[in-house]
Symmetry: C2
Subunit: 418 residues, 2 copies
């Protein structure tokens, strides 16, 4: 080798950044099923790790490195976590797996088994994920809204058409929530490959009435997730759904467009949306899923007046507070003014009777025993029973959390389009 | 309102999480163009903010809140940054805008103007982004690889076919790099809307030979970005490109399949790949862009032997080090064994002469004055000149960084398909 070649070679290798080859994958999954967290924090006085695995764990210093191991083996699941070093939250610098949950970015890991293996990518055919923008007219400020699509692995090979599941997120979520926290693409790939679910299109719209797309993806909502679900309860999302979302998807995708091949499901606020959208469109959806549904006891005229009063009080606070940025203020007030389309919540008993008179293939309600919204779900179930509307009820452990919503999806999917 | 209604209303409002309405958007862009960073870190002893805006800034304590303002107004750009509190790096908890750059997750903000406005989403027609998996045979372990697609706003309205730009990432990057750090979808939307670029399809494959998809998206590379570009220099990505990537895209997208409607460009390692792929397929690409290209002086047999020796030494180190996890070790050794397809780098003078004999529409080379790879680019330009191969050269300020690559793209796009 000439000097010039050696110089060239060294430059090549310097560029190669070989160091990360030595990086440790974190956290460490031990042979006994416990998990060890590691954080290099030389100057810290106290460090804990907190996450979806249970109570926060105190970490112990070993020279500059802080570690701790879960006292028990963890069951199979997708776990999110963060460190708290001297009261400051931080993600795991050794773990590049990050996921956004509304406004929080969290580190995560997945433990194999049931259900964790559903959330891992395996060597099976993979579907396609698309982010598309569709024309919308329900907000004068935003002429386009974004939605995510999952297309099954055989989509586009020939003219074959597929059934469609419309899958809705909760308050503060967006068109990416089911893909990120919900592991939708991995679950679909794995369940289609094993034959537990039929190949289907999954449509994930953005259900927040005052935003058009996820944070950072929009000209309007550039920085923050929207939490103003007061405005998202006022029916605009639901009223526009059939003529905007369903019509668009049917116009651009290879969909089966008859009722037996359409399902709608949602979590929390999305459960309420799924209820209202399906009740207002009794000829559209043969399958309905309400996962930990929020406020399924419908809004009445009285409640709406009350909410308007409270919203107005919050509005005045927003208007005065020096802590509120101009954009947030403008957006909030814009949202508060656009209260409309409450029709979708009115005459609900009649609408439900009409929906159930046409015998839906499945009306599925799932909720955790510890969910603070359980009393609402119970009341809504009584209301259904009183109207003579049969439903399938799945009560589980746990509360209002993604662990449940992913499992509800896995339980729900095999019941569709059979 | 009845007591029951009030209870229901309170529950609704508790669920509404109205607090984040009051959250401040960070960092603060001041009227004079300076930027103020804010971090609540009550226990910290020293805090700095470091980022792409220049030298790290020392932050000052004001009760529990640390702040600092840039000494000068910042020019229009997309800026990434992190805080360092007592030696620990953390993203900005007040700013939900995060972007991944290889293994680092960074906070970012964008200042309007030129070029920043290109990187913002505006109210113009938006193209579609897809992640798809295509069959691949160049690695026995991975039968599918993932790529990202940008489809222009009018794609799919009728049978209209579009020209295609293949856009390649650098070492450690993946099929998401141009979308995340590169703001590809926003740049395309804005340049197509203003007429500065013609509507085109952009294909962003994964060019790392030992990974099939971005971290967290693959069954094999579940945790970490790949930095083993020693194996990614060995020609496997380039040798398979035409028969796998181009053939797949032409089979599933509405592409114009003749040479005048195909372009290829890449940054750093991707620039080297674009050079090798276009030289080995002289009938495929009419437009070629090398952005800060890496090692465009081709690998010779001698160098490859040298790299094999160094790789083998690193391999032994990987094999022995207790710091290396089993998966990393296995992957590294698998990659190191699969050195092959060096044909694409051989007889390059002849290949370049053949390529230029067919008069490419554009052969574009851009690099910054401070780029450590500039000597390679200079040498490659002399080599081109010696072979009588005309090229367009764009030399800029700055170094090996995304600020330059985004600008090179904006400079390159208007020259395509005219």
């Amino acid at each position: 080798m000439s000097i010039r070649n050696i110089h060239q070679l060294l430059c090549l290798l310097c560029c190669a950044a070989v160091m990360p080859v030595f990086a440790q994958t974190a956290p460490r999954i031990n042979a006994d099923g416990t998990v060890t967290f590691i954080l290099s924090a030389p100057g810290a006085r106290s460090v804990t790790v907190e996450g979806s695995f249970g109570e926060a764990l105190k970490m112990h210093r070993d020279s500059a490195v802080w570690t701790c191991t879960t006292p028990d083996p963890l069951p199979s699941e997708m776990y999110t976590y963060r460190f708290k070093a001297d009261k400051r939250l931080l993600t795991d610098p050794l773990n590049p797996r990050l996921v956004r949950d509304i406004d929080d970015t969290l580190s995560y890991f997945i433990l194999d088994g049931d259900p964790g293996s559903y959330y891992q990518r395996h060597d099976v055919p993979h579907g396609e994920v698309r982010q598309v923008w569709y024309p919308s007219s329900f907000s004068t400020a935003m002429s386009r809204r974004r939605l995510s699509l999952y297309l099954p692995p055989t989509y586009g090979e020939g003219d074959r058409r597929f059934p469609v599941l419309y899958l809705l997120h909760g308050t503060g979520g967006d068109e990416l929530s089911w893909l990120d926290m919900g592991r939708l693409a991995e679950i679909m790939d794995n369940m289609i490959a094993s034959g537990r679910a039929v190949p289907m299109i999954v449509v994930m719209p953005n259900g927040m009435a005052d935003q058009d797309a996820a944070p950072g993806c929009s000209p309007y909502m550039t920085a923050q997730a929207s939490h103003s679900n007061v405005t998202s309860w006022m029916g605009r999302t639901e009223a526009a759904f059939a003529r905007e979302v369903v019509a668009y998807v049917d116009s651009v995708c290879l969909t089966l467009t008859d009722k037996p091949h359409r399902a709608i499901a949602g979590l929390s606020m999305g459960g309420m949306h799924a209820m209202a959208i399906s009740a207002n469109n009794p000829d559209l959806f043969h399958y309905v899923g309400l996962f930990s549904p929020q406020a399924v006891t419908p809004l009445t005229d009285t409640n709406i007046r009350g909410i308007k009063r409270v919203t107005s009080a919050i509005g005045k606070l927003v208007d005065r507070s020096p802590l509120v940025g101009e954009k947030t203020r403008a957006r909030y007030l814009r949202g508060a003014e656009q209260v409309a389309d409450v029709d979708v919540y009115q005459h609900l008993d009649e609408k439900l009777r009409e929906q159930f008179a046409r015998a839906p293939g499945l009306y599925y309600i799932a909720i955790g025993k510890d969910d603070p919204l359980k009393t609402f779900a119970d009341r809504f179930r009584r209301r259904l029973s009183k109207q003579g509307c049969p439903y399938y009820y799945h009560e589980t452990e746990g509360g209002h959390c993604w662990e449940n919503w992913r499992r509800y999806l896995i339980d729900f999917l095999p019941r569709l389009f059979k």
